[in-house]
């Protein structure tokens, strides 16, 4: 096949083009500028596996202990189905920069908290947030947040993509705040040199993050990628964790999201309860 491709004019043309481009690329030092990876140190895969196994074991032990101590004797817990009454972690408390939404009309559901992420005060960045780095670059503005506000997808100079970022009362004239997750107090302050989109706010509100009943937090990736996502879920990696989810649906008694264990087309989706969403 390689010989055939090398003799094919189209293949030669395009591979030469790719080679020319590649040879002129200066590989930047990898700095995990993507959200989620910014605030944690890289661990060796084997360490992660051990950690995941320990966490999974502790969760199982705790669940068994709770069922034995308090659960009805007739309750059966299927490995593929989580009873609505099964004890689980409460939604993570919002960081000081977040407030539970009360003024925004919400679907009549219980068990799923809707939280508006508010990283600003009237005078600047919420003091309880810790700015770990300051970056400058361009941003794309897009809609979907609560109360018609925008999210920003920002591209740092010389590298790094930050999404979403939030503008304060003075819009983009002051640095945006880019959190790696809704529960992190570490944020990036992003100074905008230009905004390259003029999309109006989307009439449909789209959470930029959600927390599943198992405690996992999943972040919206503002990009389509096949049938996967668009919510990418963060560690901890346990036997119950998932890799990515579709958008949550406002159902009773709590919101749910279809999630898959692996980011592969063949990986089946399962419904997961959503305990909190952030706008």
């Amino acid at each position: 096949m390689d010989d055939q491709r090398r003799s094919d004019p189209t293949s030669r043309l395009l591979t030469d083009f790719v080679r020319h481009v590649s040879e002129r690329v200066v590989v930047p030092e990898f700095t995990p500028g993507g959200r989620g990876a910014r605030s944690r140190r890289r661990q060796a895969p084997s360490e992660l596996r051990v950690l995941a196994a320990v966490v999974a074991a502790l969760v199982v032990i705790a669940a068994v202990a709770l069922v034995v101590a308090y659960g009805p004797r007739s309750t059966r817990i299927s490995p593929n189905r989580t009873p609505a009454t099964q004890p689980g972690p409460a939604p993570t408390q919002p960081v000081p920069g977040s407030t539970s939404t009360t003024s925004v009309p919400a679907p009549a559901v219980t068990g799923t908290r809707q939280i508006t992420y508010e990283p600003f005060t009237a005078t600047g960045i919420e003091p309880s947030l810790h700015v770990t780095s300051r970056v400058t670059g361009t941003c794309i503005r897009y809609g979907g947040g609560a109360a018609g506000r925008f999210y920003f997808r920002c591209f740092g100079t010389p590298g790094g993509i930050y999404d979403p970022c939030f503008a304060g009362p003075t819009s983009t004239s002051a640095p945006l705040v880019c959190p790696p997750s809704p529960t992190s107090v570490d944020v990036v302050a992003f100074t905008v040199t230009s905004v390259t989109s003029d999309e109006p706010p989307s009439p449909s509100r789209t959470p930029w993050a959600m927390q599943l009943s198992g405690g996992q937090v999943c972040l919206l990736v503002s990009a389509a990628w096949g049938g996967l996502g668009p919510y990418a879920c963060q560690p901890p990696l346990t036997q119950q964790s998932v890799a990515d989810c579709h958008a949550p649906a406002a159902s009773q008694p709590s919101w749910t999201a279809a999630c898959q264990v692996q980011e592969q087309d063949a990986s089946p989706f399962a419904s997961k309860q959503v305990t909190a969403v952030w706008y």
Binding site: P9, L14, R24, V25, I140, A223
Partner: protein, 173 residues
């Protein structure tokens, strides 16, 4: 199917199991490949960089795949296309003002101009088939399209390249 190794433009394959090694060995190659789809090197670099950011967070899982580089390429292309969809009302893909690199003759190359005349699906199919070396069936699976449609994209893409470049007949590969 495993794509053959040893070529500059092909996947690094299972030999590259460490994230850092994969990043160092494939970043430039992937930028080159994604540029076929974006016809814009800066956009390709951004997409590949973000794709590696995602890989970083998922290395525990994706690192076990046979070809993690293929995963990065797929994500990068999807990210690039998605970004294009978002800003396409402002400009076509590969037509980003202010990003011309005068020190980079490739960006003035006829191939790049020719690629810009092709629909993005045709560029994507041409990349996967003629550069990455995937057979039509695999291209169809990766792009989520029927094989016949992919063959049509490839045929039209080749013809359009031929017309744009004014070269001799570009035979079916």
């Amino acid at each position: 199917m495993r794509v053959g190794r040893g070529s500059h433009i092909e996947d690094a394959g299972v030999a590259t199991t460490d994230f850092t090694d994969l990043y160092a060995s494939s970043f430039a190659r992937l930028v080159g490949q994604v540029t076929v789809v974006t016809a814009d090197r800066d956009g390709a670099e951004e997409a590949v960089q973000e794709a590696f950011g995602r890989l970083w967070k998922r290395w525990e899982t994706v690192g076990t795949y046979d070809r993690p580089e293929a995963w990065v390429r797929r994500v990068a292309i999807n990210l690039a296309i998605s970004r294009w969809r978002r800003v396409r009302r402002l400009r076509p893909l590969g037509d980003r003002p202010g990003v011309a690199r005068e020190d980079d003759p490739v960006l003035r190359h006829d191939v790049q101009r020719a690629l810009r005349t092709l629909p993005v699906r045709q560029r994507h199919a041409l990349l996967l088939h003629h550069v990455v070396g995937l057979p039509v069936a695999d291209v169809a699976r990766e792009m989520g399209a029927p094989e016949g449609t992919v063959k049509s994209w490839l045929s039209r893409g080749r013809e359009a390249l031929q017309r744009s470049l004014g070269t001799e007949e570009v035979p079916r590969g």
